[in-house]
């Protein structure tokens, strides 16, 4: 009797376990499909002909046609936008990393008046939405002739990223043991030497995480590029694609090819540096 009960409950337990396991699997698979589908939608429609797209918007193409990509890559404006974005991304991110790591070094390893105050002020600025700075910056930059000027946008990008970058590097730098730095100081290293020879090599993974997160941010940025780069030949890829959409509504595969070209560099970066992406995005928020 007792045995029977146990077997019964064991069976029930197994049934529950099995069904909850499949339920979990189904949820995950469904969510994975939903997560991938929009990407699939873009890529798949970029290799269709116009007619094929009109008849079949959701499935595989009848035959793979590269016309849309040809049109995109022969479009001078598109190439210009693409190279603008590449240029802005590389320059902004490099400058940002250099300036932020100097600042984080001072904040974490030097003693001076106002250190805590400066650190707290910088961190608290992280929550400020970008939109509120747009009008005063636009007015000021208009006067200084920094609108429609790469330098202007780079200044804004680097500035906006600064608090997040300093915060993340600071939280990494403070954990570098003081003893290592002291021994280097005894060997006659100055602060700059310590920074270059010890802090930077010891923090490479944090710098890498920041690098990918910053690249992602600049590459995807829309609002500032839209307002501060209004000249046609200075537009970034994201602004260009938004305008593309309006102009090519009748030729959807061309738009999708443009999107694919805009997504691909980031996707490749993600696939190779996934670990750092996750680290950079999570680290910025978890510690506290």
């Amino acid at each position: 009797m007792n045995d029977e009960k146990r077997i019964k409950s064991n069976l029930k337990y197994r049934a529950v376990r099995w069904s909850s396991f499949t339920l979990k699997k189904i949820i995950l698979i469904l969510l994975a499909i939903i997560s991938i589908y929009p990407l699939f939608f873009v890529v798949i429609n970029s290799v269709k002909s116009k007619g094929d797209y009109n008849g079949n918007k959701i499935g595989f193409p009848k035959e793979i046609v590269w016309d849309a990509f040809r049109k995109v890559f022969l479009d001078q404006r598109f190439l210009r936008w693409f190279s603008n974005t590449v240029f802005l991304t590389i320059i902004s991110v490099l400058i940002c990393l250099i300036i932020a790591s100097f600042a984080a070094f001072a904040l974490s390893k030097m003693q001076f008046r106002g250190r805590r105050f400066i650190l707290n002020s910088i961190i608290s600025l992280m929550v400020m939405p970008v939109i509120i700075m747009i009008i005063p910056l636009f007015v000021l930059f208009g006067k200084l002739q920094l609108t429609n000027n790469y330098i202007g946008v780079i200044l804004i990008y680097v500035g906006i990223l600064m608090p997040f970058n300093i915060y993340l590097l600071y939280s990494y730098f403070v954990n570098v043991p003081q003893a290592i730095l002291e021994s280097a100081r005894i060997d006659g290293c100055g602060n700059f030497q310590i920074f270059l020879r010890m802090m930077v090599p010891l923090s490479l993974s944090a710098l890498m995480a920041l690098l990918v997160v910053d690249v992602l941010w600049v590459w995807n940025e829309l609002l500032i590029a839209l307002i501060f780069m209004q000249k046609e030949n200075m537009r970034t890829l994201m602004v260009g694609l938004t305008l593309f959409q309006g102009r090519f509504t009748s030729d959807v595969p061309v738009i999708m090819a443009g999107l694919t070209a805009g997504i691909l560099p980031i996707l490749i970066l993600y696939l190779f540096t996934q670990k750092y992406f996750v680290k950079g995005l999570v680290a910025g928020s978890l510690k506290e």
């Binding site: 909850s20 699997k25 949820i27 995950l28 994975a32 939903i34 997560s35 991938i36 929009p38 990407l39 939608f41 873009v42 079949n56 918007k57 959701i58 300036i99 932020a100 100097f102 600042a103 001072a106 001076f112 250190r115 608290s124 600025l125 929550v127 400020m128 939405p129 970008v130 939109i131 509120i132 700075m133 747009i134 009008i135 005063p136 636009f138 000021l140 804004i156 680097v158 500035g159 300093i166 920074f195 992602l216 995807n220 829309l222 839209l226 307002i227 994201m238 694609l241 938004t242 959409q245 959807v252 738009i255 999107l259 805009g262 980031i266 996934q274 996750v278 999570v282 978890l286 506290e288």
Partner: protein
């Protein structure tokens, strides 16, 4: 003071200098200046002082309230994301087969450029788009609608796009915190025969309280003032103004209607709201901290 001592004392500021100058330029100057500009007519530099006229115009503008109302409607996204992300994070945490794979796939939307997401969604949801074709194939013709062209549906479509893109981040965030829960507690619950839901509510959720709170706060700020990209690309405020939000109000007022003062007023409102949220959340967290002690 000797020269070297002087140099030593000022040295930190050399390292900090460029960063501080940039932060002053990009954050602090605009934060203060936007208050001043909200009292000005700045169509022509340096602008003339017009008292509260900008405020009067904005506060009697129907679109101002409508925009903020839409931002508040977008707040409903937050519980949806948190609940889904919680369940998924716990499933992935409990070592289901292929967890790593699902994790990278579910995070994928977060790195796709927002503009690409927006354009893809607008082509998928438009009347002659992918979704309606799918419904037709499935024999669900009665569900076919003009998703983006309908003022009632446009906002939910944008919300769907936001949920789609932001969910992965919440999952990863929760998952990272789950990684630091001690195995013993979870194991004990297994031995005690606690079911999955019990484990979720009794063990995982209490452990995640702080992360959930943190995520809720940054998401509130995001929904109120950082969704411009989605709106601009998918609906540009339409149809029939049904998706105007605070940021679009600033953008249109300042850069399309050339009324920078009105944009500055909305920016002031957003600053006050952001600061209020941060202060309230800080107090709230401290109170919780005291209760726990």
């Amino acid at each position: 003071m000797s020269i070297s001592a002087k140099k030593l004392k000022s040295e930190p500021y050399f390292y900090l200098g460029p960063a501080i100058l940039l932060i002053l330029l990009v954050y602090l100057y605009p934060l203060i200046e936007v208050f001043r500009e909200s009292f000005l007519d700045i169509r022509k530099w340096p602008g003339t002082f017009i008292g509260l006229r900008n405020f009067k115009i904005v506060f009697t503008d129907r679109m101002f309230y409508l925009s903020l109302l839409h931002n508040i409607e977008f707040l409903l996204i937050i519980p949806v994301i948190i609940i889904i992300a919680l369940i998924i994070a716990v499933i992935l945490h409990e070592k289901i087969f292929g967890a790593k794979f699902y994790q990278s796939v579910l995070f994928l939307p977060y790195i796709i450029p927002l503009v690409a997401v927006g354009i893809a969604f607008s082509f998928f949801f438009q009347y002659r788009g992918g979704l309606n074709q799918m419904l037709e194939l499935l024999g669900l013709k009665f569900l076919i609608k003009d998703w983006i062209g309908n003022p009632q549906l446009a906002l939910p479509v944008v919300a769907t796009a936001i949920i789609w893109r932001e969910l992965g981040f919440a999952i990863i965030l929760f998952l990272a915190r789950l990684g630091s829960i001690s195995e013993d507690v979870v194991e004990a619950s297994h031995i005690d025969g606690a079911g999955w839901w019990t484990r979720l509510w009794r063990i995982y959720v209490p452990e995640l309280t702080h992360v959930i709170e943190f995520y809720a706060i940054i998401s509130i700020i995001t929904m109120l003032s950082q969704i411009f990209g989605f709106i601009f690309v998918i609906t540009n405020g339409g149809p029939a103004n049904s998706t105007w939000v605070s940021e679009l109000y600033i953008y249109k007022q300042a850069f399309q209607f050339n009324h920078l003062g009105a944009g500055a007023v909305m920016a002031v409102v957003l600053i006050i709201m952001t600061v209020a949220i941060v202060i309230i959340s800080y107090r709230f967290r401290r109170r919780i901290g005291e209760e726990n002690e």
